[in-house]
Amino acid sequence: MKLTVSHIAKAYEGRNILMDCSFSFDRNGTYVLMGPNGCGKSTFLRICALLEQADEGTVSYSENNAALQPDMALRRRITLVLPKIGVFNTTVARNVAYPLRVRGMSHAEIEARVNKALAFVGLERKKSQQARTLSSGETQRLGIARALVLDPEILFLDEPTASIDEENTRIIESMIGDMRKQGKSMVIMTTHDNAQAERTADRILVMERGVLEGHPNLRTE
């Protein structure tokens, strides 16, 4: 699947957040969008993930050169993990099962996928624990498990390590590395940490005051 962003602009209360941003995400691997806090990275990600609409420009998904409609079916092939995830007031396992339950999957398949996702983020031992008792780092890993359980074709991660300790940051970066090795999906993540971008990215984009500076900073492997 390919994501193309063309000339998007967004303003809030008269303040320009994004200006004429264009880029084509066309390869599996990890794209890292870097930039200081408040530069518009999260808004860009939310627009790409179809959670918000741009004031100008277009976000289009395509597959085998055929455009995909921005409907529920497409939204279910992509997933966004926010810096602060909303934790449902139930167990860790049921939190991870949620996106599968809303898709009406069978109980057996849900259980298998949940176990696999929890093992991937290292939370398998806490599957029966109440999710709201997890630490902030574990909560972030839960958020990633809840997204990965869907095997999304594009996974958006908005500042996945913004408010967690070094140990959990290391675990999450290693998970992103594992996804990269598997090469099955595209990860588009934001960070304000240059070193983290260097460690995790296949390709780096820089955003400065709402302007996307793609190509000059592009690193390809």
């Binding site: 993930a49 529920m72 449902f88 139930t90 949620y98 809303v102």
Partner: protein, 234 residues
């Protein structure tokens, strides 16, 4: 103090001897309040959810109205229902005055604003991140709504408990529209009022203790459910 003790002893005596009249009164109380609560929940929960989830013109006015009506004086409701159902009233042709149905109508009017206002409050207080999480995880708009309501389940249950407490303890409205007819519309609270008037304090106290015990048991069970309960989608 003596009356209190005697009331307690008599309460136990009445329960142990399975007094049929007493059980008839208790059963009618539970039936009337239970039906009223059921109707109030059927209408109040969707209304509270709508007010909690959607933004529309007149929403603030509707919330303020529900909040105000939470404190409706039972005698005023009793009077209003009486005037509606009395022979010359607009619904007089139904012949419901001085019947359990009239009592259910009065109690429903008392319980519904409580269910609406407290459900709205429970739903509006659900963390906005929950809605966002549900959307990002591919829930349809309907599933997002169900998820938010499910997250508010403890608050919703509290709303229902509060409404039940209100109608079980209420006496003014059902006395006016039910008439306290022995074996037909006499419930626990109206019996307590009657026995107190007659100076029969022990029996009144005994009934009061039983009423309290029933309320406590129901609250205890609901609280246990609240602690254990899981939601539909999550």
């Amino acid at each position: 103090m003596n009356s209190l003790f005697q009331g307690f002893v008599q309460a136990i005596d009445l329960i142990l001897h399975l007094d049929p009249v007493l059980f008839g009164i208790i059963l009618l109380s539970l039936k009337v309040s239970g039906f009223a609560l059921l109707i109030a929940t059927v209408f109040g929960l969707p209304a509270g959810a709508l007010l909690g989830l959607k933004r529309f013109p007149g929403r603030d006015l509707a919330i303020s109205t529900a909040n105000t009506f939470m404190g409706l004086p039972p005698v005023v409701v009793g009077l209003f229902v009486y005037l509606l159902l009395s022979r010359k009233g607009p619904l007089g042709f139904l012949g419901l005055l001085y019947s359990p149905s009239a009592m259910i109508i009065a109690q429903t009017i008392l319980a519904t604003p409580i269910v609406i206002a407290l459900c709205q409050s429970a739903i509006v207080n659900v963390d906005p991140l929950i809605r966002q999480a549900a959307r990002t995880l591919g829930a349809t708009p309907r599933q997002v709504t169900v998820t938010i309501i499910a997250e508010a389940r403890y608050g919703i249950l509290s709303a229902i408990i509060a409404a039940f407490g209100r109608v079980m303890a209420e006496v003014g409205a059902i006395l006016i529209v039910g008439g306290n007819i022995a074996g037909y519309t006499r419930v626990m609270t109206t019996t307590i009022a009657l026995e107190t008037d007659k100076g029969n304090f022990e029996l009144a106290l005994a009934l009061g203790i039983i009423l309290l015990a029933i309320s406590f048991s129901i609250n205890f069970i609901l609280h246990a459910v609240q602690k254990k309960g899981t939601s539909i989608l999550t």
